[in-house]
């Protein structure tokens, strides 16, 4: 990141008071400057084609001509109209905002950039101003009175407006923090989702979303790992685990009649430090197989828990998500277990059953080891692995050696989607408490439902928009730095694959002495496998606490 903006330079730019001089009159009259470092590259034509989405062509956001179809305004109008009828959220949120400003300083991108158009209310107003012009009766009536257009706050759809939309709706990570504070529950994520659907009608996706989506559709996962390579990756982990523990934890693939199908984001299979979390899963499943005969299978076909289709359109989300149920049905498992991931769990929790259910070919999930019925998942039939592990620990079914993680001074980052689109808050904390000795919370306004985004969610985890990402990461980093300095926190736990990648970059940039861990990596370290050797290293091949001294004593 040598050519990237330095932390100090970034901090110097922050100013929460919109400058009146540089923004004369109304914000509606200023046009957008698409700035390198703040935007993601355009979708490759090939990726758009794979999904048969419209207007696949090479284009560049920095150029004047975006190579849109001639009737692009008509497409936007019809697209909005259709969505206003299909989504009550969208229609209500277009009408009822009073611009009270409660959301203004809740957005991590506003806090990190000071750009007034990153205030959630203003992000939504970018779209509302056109809605008021084209759809609201008030806008139409008022525009006939002198001064009425200003009174309505309306503006027509132009190329400048479209570029502004594109720039700012790809500066929203759909984290929903603003929605927690809104007195009407207006959810900017929902508005961003609609705007991105509109972009996709015109072929205006970004590549960091379009290519993973295309890969996932064709190959089964975002990274485009082909079946044999996927197996190779897991085999490689199995070898590493055997080095550390002396136990072979080889998983099942596509095993028909297994008890449970396990699906996790492919990031866990491919990118550090998610790979260690993945090893944690393998260790847990080996333990459960050995001790209790639980039969878990993986699938290379449904090898992606994440769903970047969610950042493209509802339809694309459905197309990618369909694999989970299809594979569970084909394999004849009882129910599905899902790995640690953020937006994946919002899709599973709030969308999957509605889109691709009913899952009447699966059983209501019961933990065969503890007998616990997962009643909160009785229809969707998919259980979060942290719910599953917490249940096992509570019933004393896991033998854990906490001391193996005693060098980890932990804090926990609640990921946006599990926190605000699900509410899985205490389960991960319970697991952490049982596998670690030292745990400190970050300040109350930065955790649980008020948690801050990593700054790279909703498909913005690219390399070219690093300034945007690091600015958006600031509020999280700032809270982390606070506990790092106060309590000596050296480990940031999380249950999201994007987080494991994004927070590592965040730490490197803002709080260099902190490492990122998935919760099941800690479980993997602590879990005492039947027949394991005397462990001296953790999953990262670092010496276990206490071992270093012993060796030097000898």
């Amino acid at each position: 990141m040598s050519d990237q903006i330095k932390p100090d330079e970034l901090l110097n730019k922050i100013d929460y008071g919109p400058k009146k001089k540089s923004e004369p009159g109304n914000w509606m009259n200023t046009s957008v400057q698409i700035r390198p470092g703040m935007y993601c590259y355009a979708a490759k034509a090939e990726s758009v084609k794979t999904l048969s989405l419209p207007n696949a062509r090479p284009w560049n956001p920095l150029e004047d001509d975006w190579k849109l179809p001639d009737n692009w305004q008509e497409i936007i109008f019809q697209g909005l109209k259709e969505r206003l009828e299909k989504f009550r959220t969208f229609k209500v949120f277009m009408d009822i905002c009073v611009r009270c400003g409660a959301c203004a300083d809740k957005c991590h991108f506003f806090l990190g950039t000071g750009d007034p158009k990153n205030m959630p209310v203003l992000r939504a107003e970018l779209l509302r101003s056109v809605y008021r012009n084209d759809f609201s009766t008030a806008g139409k009536i008022l525009s006939k009175i002198p001064g009425g257009k200003a009174l309505a706050g309306a503006r027509p759809m132009t190329m400048d407006v479209l570029k502004e939309w594109w720039y700012y709706f790809f500066q929203c990570t759909e984290c929903r923090r603003c929605s927690v504070f809104c007195p009407y529950g207006i959810d900017t994520a929902e508005i961003t989702i609609m705007a991105r659907e509109i972009f996709n009608l015109l072929g205006l996706n970004i590549d960091w979303i379009a290519t993973p989506v295309s890969n996932c559709f064709q190959t089964g996962n975002h990274l485009g790992i082909q079946p044999h390579a996927f197996k190779d990756m897991l085999d490689f982990f199995v070898e590493d685990i055997e080095d550390v523990t002396g136990v072979n934890c080889a998983p099942n693939f596509q095993k028909k009649g297994a008890d449970i199908l396990f699906i996790t984001p492919s990031g866990d299979v491919f990118a550090d430090p998610g790979t260690y979390t993945c090893q944690g899963y393998l260790i847990l499943f080996q333990y459960l197989k050995e001790k209790y005969g639980l039969d878990v299978t993986w699938s290379t076909y449904a090898s992606e828990g994440g769903n970047f289709g969610f950042f493209t359109s509802h339809e694309t989300m459905k197309r990618l998500n369909a694999k989970m149920y299809a594979e569970a049905k084909r394999l004849g498992v009882k129910w599905i277990l899902g790995g640690e991931c953020g937006h994946m769990w919002r899709v599973i929790h709030q969308y999957m059953d509605t889109m691709n259910g009913p899952a009447d070919f699966l059983e209501e999930p019961v933990n065969p080891i503890t007998g616990t019925k997962f009643e909160n998942a009785r229809s969707t039939k998919m259980v979060h692995i942290v719910e599953f592990t917490a249940d096992l620990i509570k019933h004393g079914k896991l033998e854990l050696d906490k001391s193996r993680n005693s060098n980890r001074i932990m804090t926990f980052h609640d990921s946006c989607n599990p926190a605000r689109g699900m509410g899985i808050l205490d389960e991960p904390r319970y697991v952490i408490e049982n596998v670690c000795d030292n745990f400190y919370e970050m300040p109350p306004n930065t955790i649980r439902e008020q948690t801050f985004c990593c700054g790279s969610g909703a498909g913005l985890n690219a390399g070219e928009n690093m300034e945007l990402r690091m600015a958006g990461a600031l509020p999280r980093a700032n809270a982390l730095k606070y506990v790092h300095e106060k309590f000596g926190v050296n480990t940031l736990g999380t249950i999201c694959a994007i987080d494991r990648a994004a927070l590592s970059t965040l730490c490197e940039y803002w709080v260099p002495d902190v490492e990122v861990y998935g919760i099941h990596e800690l479980v993997g370290n602590a879990l005492i496998l039947p027949g394991e050797k005397n462990r001296t290293e953790d999953l990262r091949f670092e010496p276990l606490p206490g071992v270093e001294e012993e060796e030097s004593d000898e």
């Binding site: 009408d95 611009r99 007034p116 001064g147 596509q254 929790h349 709030q350 917490a390």
Partner: protein, 335 residues
């Protein structure tokens, strides 16, 4: 002066002048006292119903509440039953708290960035917007309810009790009603926030200032009639009872100030369904608040769900069969 508030301020002045001079100069009492109030009330009712039906006609394809607390999961984990409800009772309580106590706004914080020394971001509880909003809405409600004495004969006892509570400070003659004063102060606070808070000023539109100026106009003409200029209450009650019994009459001796007041009130009613003031109806329909977070337990049905093109396992296996066999992965068709 910024045109964002200059236009609405001028508009409200004009409204006042039109009614005042229309009555004092042109004798148009029948228009400002009878025709326009009727038109405004019809526009309000029709517009409100039209708007709400419009929202209701849009589908709710997914159950997507914003969860603000612990979910219901394992029996020994304490659920936050109000902020993350999984039952309709929980949703009901959540909605009551939102509608009557503005619970989400109560959470409001203010972020501050301490540059240089510590580079620390800090968040403090910011209660003033909540207090201001609550004061504004409740005083407005009380003022509105008190006005029902002009439309009922005899005045119901509950209104008299309300008046007695509202006038509890027993100051001056006629007795001071707290609600009117609180309303004016609260609306001035909300206005000051819009003008002096740089962030709120930036997001504000003329459509935000207009209702504020209009309500300031309504409150100040009302307060002025009650405490300073005095009006012929008997005459006004004759007019209002005439309106409500559909036998409208114009009494003698009621001045232009009253007609300016009723004209601005009528304008507010007519403007209501065309504006952001519809948040009053919309809050009930907000899907992030009025739905239970139980989508995994209870299937939600999307009325327009349709089939989509997926990439099936068969297509996948056809594509990768050789590589799969070579890697020792099970396949359905071995060819």
């Amino acid at each position: 002066m910024n045109q964002k508030y200059l236009i609405p301020l001028t508009a409200v002045f004009l409204l006042f002048l039109v009614a005042y001079t229309g009555v004092e100069g042109a004798g148009l009492q029948w228009f400002f006292g009878i025709v326009f109030p009727y038109v405004a009330v019809i526009a309000f009712l029709a517009g409100f119903v039209y708007k709400v039906l419009g929202w209701a006609s849009s589908a709710v394809p997914f159950r997507i509440p914003t969860t603000c607390g612990q979910q219901k999961s394992l029996p020994w984990i304490k659920q936050s039953t109000i902020d993350n409800p999984d039952t309709s009772t929980g949703v009901f309580v959540r909605m009551i708290l939102e509608i009557f106590l503005f619970r989400s706004l109560f959470r409001n914080t203010k972020a501050a960035f301490n540059k240089n020394a510590s580079n620390r971001l800090s968040y403090s509880w910011e209660i003033f917007l909540w207090v201001g909003a609550l004061a504004f809405h409740y005083s407005f409600l009380v003022v509105l309810l008190r006005h029902f004495r002009f439309f009922t004969s005899p005045v119901p006892s509950c209104l008299k009790i309300l008046e007695r509570i509202d006038g509890i400070v027993q100051l001056g003659l006629p007795g001071l009603m707290l609600s009117g004063v609180v309303l004016l102060l609260a609306v001035l606070f909300l206005l000051a926030r819009r003008i002096f808070d740089a962030k709120v000023a930036y997001i504000s539109q003329a459509a935000d200032y207009f209702p504020l100026f209009l309500i300031i106009g309504i409150a100040s003409t009302g307060l002025s009639m009650r405490y300073f200029t005095k009006v012929d209450i008997i005459g006004i009650k004759t007019l209002t009872m005439g309106l409500v019994t559909f036998s409208p009459t114009i009494p003698e001796g009621v001045g232009g100030l009253f007609y300016a007041h009723i004209f601005m009130v009528s304008t507010l009613f007519a403007y209501f369904p065309l504006s952001k003031l519809m948040h009053m109806g919309g809050i009930f329909l907000s899907p992030t608040r009025n739905m239970a977070n139980n989508t995994r337990a209870k299937r939600h049905v999307n009325p327009w769900n349709y089939d989509v093109k997926t990439h099936t396992y068969e297509e996948y296996e056809d594509h990768f069969r050789e590589k799969m066999i070579e890697a020792g992965l099970p396949v359905d068709k071995k060819e």
